[in-house]
Amino acid sequence: MGTTEDPAAATPATTDWSEVQASPDFAELRRRLRGFVFPMAGLFLAWYLLYVLLADYAHGFMSTKLFGNITVGLVFGLLQFVSTFVITGLYVRFANRVVDPAADKIRHEIEGDDQ
């Protein structure tokens, strides 16, 4: 394959993209991907916004000490780290198990035809 300096070579006109887009395999891939990333994005944004609003407007609650000098706010903040790491892990597992095999299959069908 070598270098891909020529954009025309990277995008052969022979692929009927609309046909692939309309295929059941692709529709399923899109449905599953969107079904995972959209709710997950909504979830972490809502969770983050809740945290910011609490830190911004509920000072008393966030300054409550749980044990020693560890406050509710500190635990909440650290939970944002935990949730970020957990969501990252969940997405990677989902992408490796569901997205990659389906995407690879469709890609091979497209690229196999014209090479």
Partner: protein, 535 residues
Amino acid sequence: MVAAGVEGSNSALNISIFAVFVVITLVIVFRASRSTKTTTDFYAAGRAFTGPQNGIALSGDYLSAASFLGIAGAIAIYGYDGFLYSIGFLVAWLVALLLVAELLRNTGRFTMADVLSFRMKQGPVRTAAAISTLAVSFFYLLAQMNGAGGLVALLLGVTSTAGQALVVSVVGVVMIIYVLVGGMRGTTWVQIIKAVLLIAGAFVMTVWVLGRYGFNLSSLLGDAVDHGGKTGEALLGPGKQYGATGTSRLDFLSLGIALVLGTAGLPHVLMRFYTVPSAKEARRSVVWAIVLIGVFYLFTLVLGYGAGALVGPEKINAAPGKVNSAAPLLAQALGGPILLGLIAAVAFATILAVVAGLTITASASFAHDIYVNVIKKGDRESAKSEVKVARWAAVVIGLLAIVGGILTNGQNVAFLVALAFAIAAAANLPTILYSLFWKRFTTTGALWSMYGGLVITIGLIIFSPVVSGAKTSIFPTAHFDWFPLSNPGLVSIPLSFLLGYLGTVLGKDRADESKFAEMEVRALTGAHAEKAVQH
């Protein structure tokens, strides 16, 4: 000219350690230049970096001196409120991971504009995306160069204007050499080395601080409270910095939104996804970046409270550079001049690496988007001179950054980083998301959203207390501050999403359905995505 900056610092030692960093990175950059021949080499390092390598480089690009010195210092002085920044900066990466990184890698070649203009009218959309890229990069660059001037006062005791101008110029020239000679491959290696040094340095200091308190976070916090004076107890909860008035609380909410939505629209972050061979590697890069950045921010939490406890807010506020001196003073308190010298050099290396990443992004956008695709209308012949144009652009941008850094020396331009995030979130992110996910999105919608986001964000800043009307303003005696918030994101981000929608619905043009089919299939499957270069 050279005198002690922070008390107990040895300027000669600090400069020597930094010089060693510059020499080592220059050698690596010159070695990297041997395999930089094509445009793909220059802009995207031949797409040959692995996910983990690129992830380390992403964290290097992202963790600027502001997030190291600034956040640690803010935690030392304001306690919990400093911590809030780092959470926004980290959570933001989930937007990049879930919605942007892989799809962008599959559909673009070199720049953010490749993706934004994929199914739109090339000329106008590329121009808008390039203008936004240049604006974000330049504001960010200016903040970094200005920071370099402040940092030398702090770490090397260079307080004369001429001396600081000289240091800013040296930083600029070294950065231009990195980009000119090493291209993206050299710049990436600089990021990797810098990230490893920064994270390792923060790790050592964190363990050291925790060791002083028997690895008990609660007793560290208790000691910070004891040294925090009358308001020490307030360090443990939110509100010390932003809680004063209703306006300042709203301002914080606005900042929080810009931080979480800005990262996935930062052109220098997006461009890094082209340096790996596939979408799967782009995903691995983000995972590595999230882990490294998350762990680093946990370190800064300990360092911030550690500085509050072991150095104390009075001494920090009295030092040159105030808040920014917390981490260097903590290094001094822990390990004496040698650790201080190492941390000082790491802070410099951080500025140098971040400005190099910004400069290559801005120059790529100028050469690839404006010169080749708008001025020369994608002409094949012009692609041959593309790298040459990009190199010249890098020189010009580098010189502008030096001049800007010198002219703004002594001014407080810390707001520029937040402004860069706000522009990225308002002008770039809506169009990126609409392009990737909304079939009906049109050229008119893209232009309304991008120009609207850019103009509204900058406009609101001009009429905010940042520019006039307050003691800390650029023009403290003038009064045209009718917009009360210093962070415009709360208004500008929803408005530019709305503008993208309205432009699409009201504009006369219709979306190109076959181009959308191509973009969607390529984005999700990686079919005919740009492959790695085989040398």
